[in-house]
Symmetry: C2
Subunit: 123 residues, 2 copies
Amino acid sequence: MNIANPYSSNCPTRKVLDRVADKWAVLVLGLLIEGPIRFNRLRRAVEGISQKMLSQTLKSLERDGLVSRKAFATVPVTVEYAITPLGQTLATTLDALRVWAETHMEEVTANQQRYDAGAKSGA
Amino acid sequence: MNIANPYSSNCPTRKVLDRVADKWAVLVLGLLIEGPIRFNRLRRAVEGISQKMLSQTLKSLERDGLVSRKAFATVPVTVEYAITPLGQTLATTLDALRVWAETHMEEVTANQQRYDAGAKSGA
DNA sequence: GAGCCTAATTACCAAAAGAAACCATCGAGG
DNA sequence: CCTCGATGGTTTCTTTTGGTAATTAGGCTC
């Protein structure tokens, strides 16, 4: 079982890591944890995402078993996306990242400005 | 509404999240937490990374104040990279992600195979 | 003085993201 | 009737990013 190091490219952990390193997936999962939601509503909620990327993100999340898709044969066909139990475990983990961002973003931004200022004068 | 929802694109949290959604940054930070390390050593450790991407990743991590760079005027100039205290807090958070991956990768892989099989026959 | 090791950049090409248009269906309204 | 709007997508095109390989620069070794 001890497959261990994600630093070798053939390690499956690396694949999952690659998958998770996706800003849209992180944002979508973060929204889905609040409850099932329809496609366009999701699109409006996640500011800046295109239909293509949302569709693509949802498809791969579904493929991974992190979200479930349910289509209703209503007037204009509605599709509802929901997070799965597995997806919830990931969303919980990712939430720590959001908390980190909220806690440290000011410091990071300050660092960036200091760096940029230094690079400008130091060059 | 300074902080709050990362779903609006102008939220600084979103910027940090974008930044973190980078597989190389995650892997590099994970290695740096074990101690300072030189450029080429890092490159050999992170399998599959190119010099360009490593250089680029390190530069942006340095800009964010997550790692520090120290050049030594040795024979062939050596450069050592180390994680900063701020970087450590992030690396710790990201470690939870690695743990998630190690715990759930089998399930995710199984889901993918089931999905792919279903799509093939079900389409 | 050719070759090598260091860290990093550059040029070039492939892949992915982004923007915007199009598709098909149906109900509402002019 | 015919267009409009809303539904969830896909397609097309452009831009941005990532990957490969070659190059740079300096000094040491052979």
